[in-house]
C-alpha cells in the first residue's frame, strides 16, 4: 500500500462514518450523580450492614409482593411499540414457510407510512408488494414504518405462493406513543 492510497482510504472511511457522528451526543445529566451515589452507598453499606439485615428480614414479605406485581405488570404490557413521527424497523420471521413464499404484501393503516432512504417513493404507498428470491432467502421481512399519529395501528402481512394463493396472513399491532412521552425505545424480540 502506498501513502496516497492509505490517505484516500482514511478520507473515504471518515466521510462515511461522519454521518454517525453527533455533536449533541451527551450522557444523561444524572450519570455523574449515579456514579457518586454508588460510592456514597458503598461507604454507607459498610456502616449500616447490621441494621440492613434486620430491616430486610422484616420487610421481605412486602418487597416480594411488590416484585410479583411489577413482574405481572411487565409481562402483561409487552407489546410492539413505536413513537409517533419516528421510524421503526420491524423484522417479522417466517423461516418454516420461506421456501414456499413467492411474494409478500404489506398493508398499512391510515396514518402509517413506509420509510426507505433509498426508495423514498414508498412513502406514498399503502400496500407494498415484495417478491423475488431474497424474500425466500431472508426468512424474515424487514420493513421500516412511521406513524404520524399516536395510537394502536394494525399492519397486515399477506404471504403468497407462486400461484398467488394466500399461504399465511399476519396482523401486527403496534402501539405508537406520543413523542417525548417516555424513554427511548430499545431493540427487542417478541413472539407474536
Amino acid at each position: 500500500m502506498n501513502f496516497n492510497d492509505s490517505q484516500d482510504l482514511a478520507k473515504r472511511t471518515q466521510g462515511a462514518l461522519a454521518s454517525l457522528k453527533s455533536a449533541s451526543l451527551t450522557p444523561s445529566p444524572f450519570m455523574k450523580t449515579r456514579i457518586l451515589a454508588h460510592f456514597e452507598e458503598q461507604s454507607q453499606k459498610i456502616k449500616s450492614r447490621s441494621k440492613f439485615w434486620f430491616w430486610s428480614f422484616s420487610t421481605s414479605g412486602g418487597v416480594f409482593s411488590l416484585a410479583l406485581i411489577a413482574w405481572i405488570y411487565l409481562i402483561s404490557s409487552v407489546t410492539l411499540q413505536g413513537v409517533e413521527g419516528e421510524e421503526l424497523l420491524l423484522r417479522y420471521g417466517y423461516q418454516t414457510l420461506a421456501p414456499q413464499i413467492a411474494s409478500v404484501e404489506v398493508v398499512l393503516p391510515e396514518g402509517v407510512n413506509f420509510h426507505s432512504r433509498r426508495h423514498p417513493h414508498v412513502r406514498d404507498l399503502k400496500v407494498l408488494k415484495i417478491s423475488g428470491e431474497r424474500v425466500r432467502k431472508l426468512g424474515y421481512l424487514p420493513v421500516v414504518v412511521r406513524s404520524d399519529t399516536p395510537g394502536k395501528k394494525n399492519i397486515h402481512f399477506i404471504f403468497r405462493d407462486e400461484g398467488g394463493k394466500v399461504l399465511k396472513e399476519k396482523h401486527l399491532r403496534i402501539q405508537f406513543r406520543h413523542k417525548g412521552s417516555s424513554a427511548s425505545l430499545k431493540p427487542m424480540r417478541l413472539p407474536t
Partner: protein
Amino acid sequence: MDFQQSIQLVLRAKAGDRSAFSELIDLYQTALFRFCFYLCRDQSRAEDLSQNTLIKAFEKIHKLQEAEKFRPWLFQIARHEFLDFVRSHKREEIRPIADDEVVQTPHEQDLEVREILAALDSDSQICLVLVDMEGYSYAEAAEIIGISEDALRSRLHRARKEFLDKYEKTETLKLPKASTL
C-alpha cells in the same frame, strides 16, 4: 483544563479525594459516552457501559502507575466493558428470527452504516471509532487497544478496507417492484 491540571486531578483522586473524582467525571464522561455509543449504538447501554467504566476506574485508580496515562487507561477499561458486552449479547444477536417472531428496532437514518460497522470484529470497530470518528492519535489508540503502533496501522488499514467494501456494495432490501395494488 490543561494536561498538568488533569494529572493533578488524577493524583488527588488516587489519594481518595472525592471532589477530584467528580471533576474527572466532568472531564471525561462525554468522550467516554460517545465512544461507547458509537460502539454499542444504544443510548441506555452506552450510559451503562460508561457508568461501569468510571466506577471500575475509581475502584482501581490506586493501581494506576502513571497519572499521565489516565485517559488511555480509562478507555482501556471501556474497551473491556464493551468486549464483555459483545460476548454476553452475541448469542442473542446471532440467533435467527424464528417463525412468528418480531424484532423491533428504532430505525435511524444511518442504520446501514451502523450495521456495517457492527458487522466488523470488535477491535476493528474500536480502531475506527477511536481514530476515524474521535480523532485519537495512532499512538493513543494503540495504547488503548494494547498493541504496537505498527500493528494499529495495519489493523486500521484492514478495518477501513473491509468497512468501505461493505459500505460501497451495500444495498438495502430491494424494492423496485413496489407498487400500489
